[in-house]
């Protein structure tokens, strides 16, 4: 698979079809993968693909990264889950379909965090998204590397995130509130959640608008609550549950619970799943006469 990946990268760079291949490479000790930007065909051998390739590299396609855009047309190595984000970026007119060459990587799952890797992939170290993945054979691509997989996701979604959402749903609103206040209390306002998210592409985030300061930037309970709620709302109907915000959170706030709850709510209210069809628009930015009105009381 890696040979095919490198071969394709070399070909794309040599032909001039793309000027940069955004992919994964090893760190110095070859213990962790890290994003790499290959601009010379002779460096294509640095590209790797394995279960440690957790990062969703689609962030580098967004307008925040003017220095990467300046390199030229990009090719990107993307798992199915990462492609979902590219699909949303296309549907929101952030990326042109023809503006990026998508090298889809067939995937058998990745680790939840790279630190968990002990040489073998097993379900216990995979995130919930992998257990229920319906895009292990990537769905929107220009080229695919890796052998087709015949994995079919379970009919009823499984995994820790779903279990915990069910537990939380059983609680009273005040118990749930207490749970989240405590979880958010650890927030240190490092904004890793936002920076890791390719759908948080605003060049000026609302938290940076300080005349007046709309969101309190202090890492106190009120400021933390405002930030986390605002971010959740801005991702409703758009989030693809890639899990990068939770993975990046240095204080382990279970953001995947927020994200998956939003996914379920949007699916229920609008029969919409983000990240599958680049011609469809997220429900929060379109009006349809069929939209439910049962929330108006």
């Amino acid at each position: 698979m890696e040979n095919a990946l490198r071969e394709k990268a070399r070909e794309l760079l040599t032909s001039g079809e793309v000027q940069v291949v955004i992919g994964y490479g090893w760190n110095r000790r070859k213990t962790r993968t890290t994003p790499v930007f290959i601009t010379r065909s002779e460096d294509a051998d640095r590209l790797v693909f394995n279960p440690l390739c957790v990062n969703n590299l689609s962030i580098y396609l967004t307008r925040k990264y003017k220095d990467i855009q300046a390199l030229g047309r990009p090719a990107i190595v993307a798992k199915g889950c990462d492609i979902k984000n590219i699909v949303v970026l296309i549907s929101e007119s952030q990326v042109k379909r023809e503006g990026v060459y998508i090298i889809g990587a067939t995937c058998n799952g990745v680790v939840y965090k790279q630190e968990l890797w002990a040489g073998e992939l097993n379900p216990g170290i995979m995130p919930t998204k992998c257990h229920n993945c319906d895009v292990r054979n990537p769905h929107v691509t220009d080229f695919v590397v890796g052998d087709k997989t015949d994995f079919t996701p379970p009919e009823e979604p499984t995994g820790m995130v779903f279990d915990r959402i069910r537990e939380l749903d059983k609680k009273t609103p005040s118990e749930r509130w207490g749970f989240w206040i405590e979880e958010f209390s650890r927030c240190i306002k490092c904004y890793a959640c936002r920076q890791a998210c390719s759908l948080c592409y605003c060049e000026r985030c609302i938290t940076e608008k300080n005349m007046p300061q709309w969101v309190e930037t202090s890492a106190h309970p009120r400021g933390n609550l405002s930030w986390n709620l605002i971010r959740a709302m801005h991702l409703a109907g758009r989030c693809t549950f890639c899990g990068e915000c939770e993975r990046s959170c240095p204080v382990n706030i279970p953001l995947n619970l927020v994200n998956q709850k939003l996914v379920l709510t949007v699916k229920d209210a609008f029969s919409y799943r983000s990240g599958y069809d680049e011609k469809e628009h997220p429900p929060m930015i379109v009006y349809s006469p069929e939209d439910k009105e049962n929330f108006i009381k």
């Binding site: 890290t34 790499v36 990062n55 580098y60 003017k66 990467i68 920076q195 890791a196 309190e216 240095p250």
Partner: protein, 339 residues
């Protein structure tokens, strides 16, 4: 100075003795599946199996958010009152020798051309009890930045674990001596049998030369070297590294409250944030992420060593462990050393 023995079973009493009078005892403990420095009131809230906590204990001398003044706008003017702080006695137990060295770095900047009492008053009340390392992970690089598990700089009391899980304690500073005297009933005479466990000294990274790095950075032509973009283009600009770094010290002042009254807060800030250097005009001198990362590196390996005698980087490895894109500062150190 002869070593004294602090028995593991006496930790509970030590914590109790510090906290009973309103003191704060900070030690490594589990929280949300991570080992972190946090305030404890009992020994069983502590953990002893850790390399280094994910957060820095700088939070207790330089809190992530604190009120520094309160304001009220009245008809006849603005009423602005500075906040006076009277910090409690604070004890950090289980610091690592690398991080202990960082307090001098924070002090350098907070007493540089202005005495920041919000910092100094807290640090004056802080006693650091360091436990020397008997293990390390791939990210530890203290020996590469001229420190080691044997360094006592910045520690008030330096402890070595014994095979029984007790601690051989030696006072390093006057503050440390005073601390051991104050709680002298818990620091017993050590018998000859109490032998410390062997310390684990991480291997120095061969290709790294701090002097060469500093000299290379000194040459202004290198400021625009393509190396910066090549090595740090992947940085996505969160503040996880700076917020977990024991020497990063930048802060922002913000007003909170209503139009007529509120508070001025001093909050952690990060040079990795895009708006850190954004001018009111809209111009940003560090307009790409790799330039912001270059600043972080320059600060630690050029600006700090030139301005202060303290170190800008203590090799704790937190920034590497916490980085969502695994940007490894030692890889940049190595690349620059090879120039």
């Amino acid at each position: 100075m002869t070593d004294k023995l602090l028995k593991r079973e006496n930790l509970d009493k030590l914590i109790g003795s510090v906290t009973v009078g309103g003191g704060v005892f900070v030690a490594p403990g589990m929280e949300a599946r991570r080992v972190v420095f946090r305030e404890v009131t009992r020994a069983d809230e502590m953990t002893h199996d850790y390399i280094i906590p994910v957060n820095s204990y700088k939070d207790w001398v330089f809190p992530q958010t604190e009120v520094i003044a309160r304001f009220a706008i009245k008809k006849d003017g603005v009423d602005l009152k500075g906040e006076k702080i009277e910090p409690p006695e604070t004890v950090v137990f289980g610091a690592r020798p690398c991080e202990a060295a960082s307090l001098a770095s924070l002090r350098s900047v907070f007493t540089w051309d202005f005495i920041d009492e919000f910092y100094t008053r807290r640090e004056d009340r802080l006693t650091v009890l360091t436990v020397a390392c008997t293990a390390a992970d791939d990210e530890c690089f203290c020996t590469t930045v001229e420190l080691s598990p044997e360094s006592t700089v910045g520690s008030d009391v330096y402890l070595k674990e014994t095979a029984d899980g007790d601690y051989l304690a030696s006072a390093i500073t006057d503050k440390g001596t005073a601390f051991m005297e104050k709680y002298s009933t818990l620091f017993e005479g050590a018998s000859a049998e109490a032998k410390p466990k062997e310390l684990f000294i991480p291997e120095k990274i061969d290709g790294i030369d701090l002097d060469r790095i500093k000299k290379w950075l000194d040459n202004k032509d290198h400021y625009d070297d393509p190396l910066w973009a090549e090595l740090s283009r992947k940085c996505f600009g969160c503040g996880a590294c700076t917020f977990s770094c024991p020497t990063c010290h930048c802060f922002d002042i913000t007003d909170e409250g209503t139009t007529y009254e509120g508070e001025k807060r001093k909050n952690w800030d990060a040079c990795q944030f895009e708006h850190f250097t954004l001018h009111a005009s809209g111009h940003n001198p560090r307009d790409a992420q790799f330039k912001r990362w270059r600043n972080r590196f320059m600060c630690k390996f050029n600006i700090y060593p030139k301005k202060f005698t303290s170190t800008g980087c203590v090799g704790c490895g937190r920034c590497i462990r916490v980085c969502p894109v695994r940007h490894d500062i030692t890889e940049v150190m190595e690349a620059i050393s090879g120039r």
